[in-house]
């Protein structure tokens, strides 16, 4: 083939190209390092090369310009083409972490930032850790409220995460103790705000000179990080066998901002119980109540979840319907 034929073929090829990638292919075929043009030039006898050099370069340049022109044309056509940018994407397969896992992780993170150590203690425990060691003697009316499941006379499904208190004291042996114990707990009740299995997070801080204002500080810190900057807590008198003094903790209502509404009681929502660790409990955990003091709280994971997300029925959290779970 002579240079003219090559140019003709190349031009014809370029004209038929419909897309940029087709055009690139044709361009490579003719103008590439081992393209038709170069092959033609390479096979010329040595003495012919200087003579034809100028013509050859001109042909290549001309073709190069044609390619550029075609490229502009294709790009111009592509940009003018109608394209619906609102067409939905194709989703990859999407999984879902459970709400409770998410909440536990969030709660853990908040407390770890201020030095609490995440723990998990037995869900099935002896009466000593779940009750008697927590200053709740056998036959005590306080056991009424617990609605405890029994495995045997001496072994229970823990009705709260407070069994972790004594276990943590035994494990650490000496303050400071800063625990956030999160686990499954069980009570014999099922209704709109109770499931027989649920989760609690138990905070325990024991050190020298720990006082009530520290509990208030940690409580405020938690609710501000979990619920929002503008939230705060208040303590009300209550009674638990394993704390003295004991408190019921309320949080400002997020819906009305503390004014009063349908969801709250005069601007406040109940968060859960807390208190200063009872000296008997410290003693039972091998810690000298004369030297150390501490606070503890045990709050419901489902409860804070429901409060944060306005879930009306706590039982929904335990739905196994993927149409619900896939919304989480």
């Amino acid at each position: 083939m002579n240079l003219k034929d090559i140019s003709k073929q190349a031009t014809a090829g370029t004209t038929t190209a419909g897309t940029i990638s087709e055009l690139k292919e044709i361009e490579t075929k003719y103008l590439g390092r081992h393209g038709e043009f170069n092959q033609y030039f390479d096979q010329l006898p040595k003495e012919e090369k200087p003579k034809q050099g100028a013509t050859f370069n001109l042909a290549k340049q001309k073709y190069s310009a044609e390619v550029q022109k075609k490229s502009d044309e294709i790009i111009g056509r592509e940009s003018a083409r109608e394209f619906d940018v609102t067409v939905p994407g194709i989703l990859p397969s999407i999984g879902h972490l459970h709400l409770i896992t998410g909440a536990i992780e969030e709660i853990t993170g908040i407390f770890e930032k201020i030095g609490f150590i995440r723990r998990r203690y037995p869900e099935i425990d002896t009466d000593w850790y779940a009750a008697e060691g927590l200053n709740i003697p056998k036959d005590h009316p306080a056991r009424d409220d617990q609605e405890t499941f029994y495995v045997s006379d001496n072994v229970v499904l823990t009705p709260h995460t407070s069994n972790g208190q004594l276990r943590e004291m035994e494990a650490m042996k000496k303050p400071p103790i800063k625990m956030i114990n999160i686990g499954k707990t069980y009570r014999r009740q099922i209704d709109i705000s109770h499931t027989p299995m649920f989760h609690q997070f138990e905070g325990l801080l024991i050190d020298k000179n720990i006082d009530i204002t520290h509990l208030i500080g940690v409580g405020n810190y938690f609710v501000q990080h979990y619920f929002g900057r503008d939230r705060r807590i208040r303590l009300r008198p209550h009674h638990f066998q394993f704390t003295e003094p004991s408190f019921e903790i309320d949080i400002t209502c997020g819906v009305c901002g503390g004014l009063d509404c349908r969801l709250c009681k005069a601007g406040w929502l109940e968060l859960g119980g807390a208190g200063m660790v009872h000296p008997t409990v410290l003693k039972n955990g091998g810690i000298d109540p004369k030297k150390y003091s501490g606070f503890a709280f045990g709050w419901g994971v489902e409860r804070v979840l429901a409060m944060k997300n306005n879930l009306p029925d706590i039982r929904n959290i335990y739905s196994t319907d993927l149409r619900i779970l896939n919304q989480f």
Binding site: S93, D125, V155, K184, T213
Partner: protein, 686 residues
């Protein structure tokens, strides 16, 4: 213990200008919580939650006493009025009728700290006064007649249960208080017949008939009615544990029982009796027809608790001065003796004997009356701890997150399961832990496997969502104490990961698992056919999973029969992994392999062999150092195709070198082999 208290009743005992709203707010912050304040016909009603150890606040007078101590700290004057503690024995109206005999016999003084009664005659049964009826109704008590209403009103005001018997119905006018015998029967006022277990406190009359289930509810036999003319007014306190036991098993959780089991103040017995007589004289024209009987077997012991103000301030985190502390305690009825400039001894009032015994109890009184809400919160400063969280907890979250990213949905099933679903999954319940008091049959056992729960989840979702389905649960299972744990008497709680797919092929399901092991850097994973025929697994499509020699779980198909039982038509592949092992083996280490500067030569090679595929892959890798990577493509009967990558990091490979290796690889199948593999085991390509 919840009570409804009308504002009008409260104000009989409390003089203050505070509005009901203010009273409710102050009580909630510093005393018993007022859950709600209702307004009805110009009156208000407080829904009060009396804290369990504060039975003294479960009545109008008790709430008034709290309010009188609390309101001054809100800058509002408040004073107690008409205290029953001011009623003296001499206030009892004198006998005005013929004396009627009443013989009382106490078989066991331990049953009854204090016993008081008085006989009244000439009673006229009628309506109680309107005001009393209104207050009772607002407090949620049904009104009947003046006699019954007065007893209930006394309880509302003073928190002391009171009973009234028809004197003429007590045979022989004799009351014998004793423990019941097992099998004795008694009909209570609500018409229920109770067969007693024995050891209950009861009263028998002169003819051996049981006329009172003491502290719980009166007996039908001695009930007052519209014809009653003579009566016994009856005020007691009882041994709390006996009352509680009887109340629980007879399921008669009456107000009286709830109060008696919490030990009300015995000092209130006679004032209540006297006030009762006064009201019956006034509203039922009663005449006193006998001396009051007062058997006081267990008088309260005086109790003093010392309080160091510096210690108090350290516990509360506030600077109270001596005067503020003593002021608060005095308002609550404590007697104060100064020991030093910063310490005191507080004598505990009789109505607080059962809830105040250590300095912490006094601290609570001071801090709550002052108002917890007035304390400023601060974060504690403590040393940082060098202990670490159990890595298991971190790996659990990492794996959950990863599986969710791979498209799996996490499920939380109850740990409490039924025996039925275990049988349905062909797993025996011998290893599940039964509860002695389950809530329902479906929650009877603590599960020893997550598999039945996940199969049930798939069943529940049939037809509700499109396939494929990928779900997992990562939870504890509970195993009876067979091993070293025996010493503690506790079951073993073991973390397990269970994954299930539906509508996804064997190889794709297994791919998730392999991706997971890759993420966790678990070394030397291998799969081996299971021996034996266990549980829900389809034997020939199930593998045990090992890391080195360490067994870590099972992956496989669920038997047709089990699938049918759970109404599942599609192939189900399940993974059950021991997560403790996973956590022990997982790591974040990785080793770096330099990338070759020379391109791979890639060849598809088909080998005919009866060996396991994993074995063939191993053999291909071992054949030559130039084999860089082996991928499995597909199989046709015992002809298996692999995609083999050849590379030498130091140079370009030539076609002829690769051809030589390929020819050797093709012969792999001819060199002996493992036991033959049935065709059905071969994974479906694709």
């Amino acid at each position: 213990m919840d009570i409804k208290l009308p504002d009008s009743t409260l104000r009989k005992y409390l003089i203050t200008k505070a509005t009901p709203e203010k009273v409710a707010e102050a009580l909630t912050l510093c005393g018993p919580s007022v859950d709600r304040l209702h307004h009805k016909n110009g009156n208000s009603v407080y829904d009060i939650e009396a804290i369990t150890n504060r039975v003294d606040t479960a009545c109008a007078f008790g709430v008034a006493r709290e309010a009188a101590a609390i309101l001054p700290l809100f800058g509002i004057k408040a004073k107690l009025n008409n205290s029953p503690y001011d009623i003296k024995a001499t206030d009892l109206p004198e006998r005005t009728a013929v004396k009627l005999p009443l013989i009382v016999e106490i078989k066991d003084e331990a049953l009854i700290p204090r016993f008081a009664a008085i006989v009244l005659s000439d009673l006229i049964v009628a309506d109680a006064p309107t005001e009393m009826k209104e207050d009772l109704e607002l407090s949620g008590v049904r009104t009947l007649n003046n006699l019954i209403d007065i007893t209930n009103y006394l309880t509302l005001c003073f928190g002391q249960p009171v009973h009234i018997f028809d004197y003429d119905k007590i045979k022989g006018h004799k009351m014998i208080l004793r423990e019941s015998r097992a099998g004795e029967k008694l009909t209570t006022l609500d018409g229920k017949i109770h067969k007693l277990l024995g050891g209950d406190i009861v009263i028998e009359d002169g003819e051996g008939r049981l006329i009172d289930l003491c502290g719980i509810m009166g007996g039908k036999l001695s009930e007052v009615d519209e014809k009653t003319q003579k009566a016994v007014l009856f005020v007691q306190t009882y041994q709390p544990k006996k009352i509680r036991r009887t109340s629980l098993y007879t399921q008669e959780r009456t107000l009286a029982a709830q109060i008696f089991e919490k030990q009300p103040d015995t000092k209130l017995v006679i004032p209540t009796l006297i006030e009762g007589v006064r009201l019956l004289v006034k509203h039922a024209r009663a005449k006193v027809a006998g001396e009051s009987i007062d058997l006081y077997f267990q008088k309260p012991q005086a109790k003093t608790v010392k309080l160091d103000i510096k210690w108090l301030n350290r516990l509360i985190g506030y600077d109270f001065d001596f005067k503020t502390v003593t002021g608060i305690l005095k308002n609550l009825g404590f007697g104060i003796k100064k020991i030093s400039a910063s310490s005191l001894a507080a004598s505990v009032p009789t109505w607080r004997l059962h809830d105040i015994s250590i300095p912490e109890d006094l601290a609570e009184e001071v801090a709550r009356i002052y108002g917890y809400f007035r304390l400023e919160g601060k974060l504690p400063v403590t040393a940082n701890l060098s202990v670490a969280t159990d890595p298991l907890l971190d790996w659990e979250y990492a794996v959950k997150r990863y599986l969710a990213d791979l498209g799996f949905t996490e499920i939380f099933n109850y740990s409490l399961v039924s025996r039925d679903i275990f049988q349905k999954a062909n797993l025996d319940t011998d290893h599940s832990i039964p509860l002695t008091n389950p809530l329902a049959k479906e929650f009877g056992f603590m599960r020893c496997s997550l598999i039945p729960s996940l199969l049930m989840d798939l069943e529940h979702n049939q037809g509700k969502v499109n396939l494929p389905i990928r779900i997992f649960e990562l939870s504890n299972i509970y195993l009876p104490d067979q091993t070293a744990k025996m010493l503690s008497g506790l079951p073993e709680e073991r973390s397990i990961l269970c994954m299930a797919t539906q509508g996804i092929s064997y190889r794709h399901s297994k791919g998730y698992l392999e991706a997971l092991f890759g993420m966790l850097h678990i070394p030397n994973i291998s799969f081996a056919s299971v021996e034996g025929n266990e549980g829900p697994w389809q034997k020939n499509q199930t593998a045990e999973i090992y890391s080195g020699k360490h067994f870590i779980g099972i992956f496989g198909a669920i038997k047709q029969g089990i699938r049918t039982a759970f109404s599942l038509n599609d192939d189900i592949y399940l993974t059950n992994l021991d997560f403790q092992s996973i956590s022990d083996l997982a790591n974040t280490d990785f080793s770096y392999t330099p990338i070759s500067d020379y391109p791979d030569l890639i060849e598809d090679i088909t080998i005919q062999s009866d060996r396991h595929i994993s074995e063939l892959i191993q053999l291909i890798k071992q054949e030559s150092a130039l084999v860089n990577k082996v991928g499995y493509k597909d199989s046709l009967k015992n002809k298996h195709t692999f995609t083999v990558h050849f590379n030498d990091p130091k140079r370009n490979l030539s076609e002829s070198e690769v051809t030589k290796i390929r020819e050797k690889l093709k012969l792999l199948g001819k060199r002996g082999g493992s036991e033959s593999v049935p065709e059905s085991v071969l994974p479906n390509p694709g």
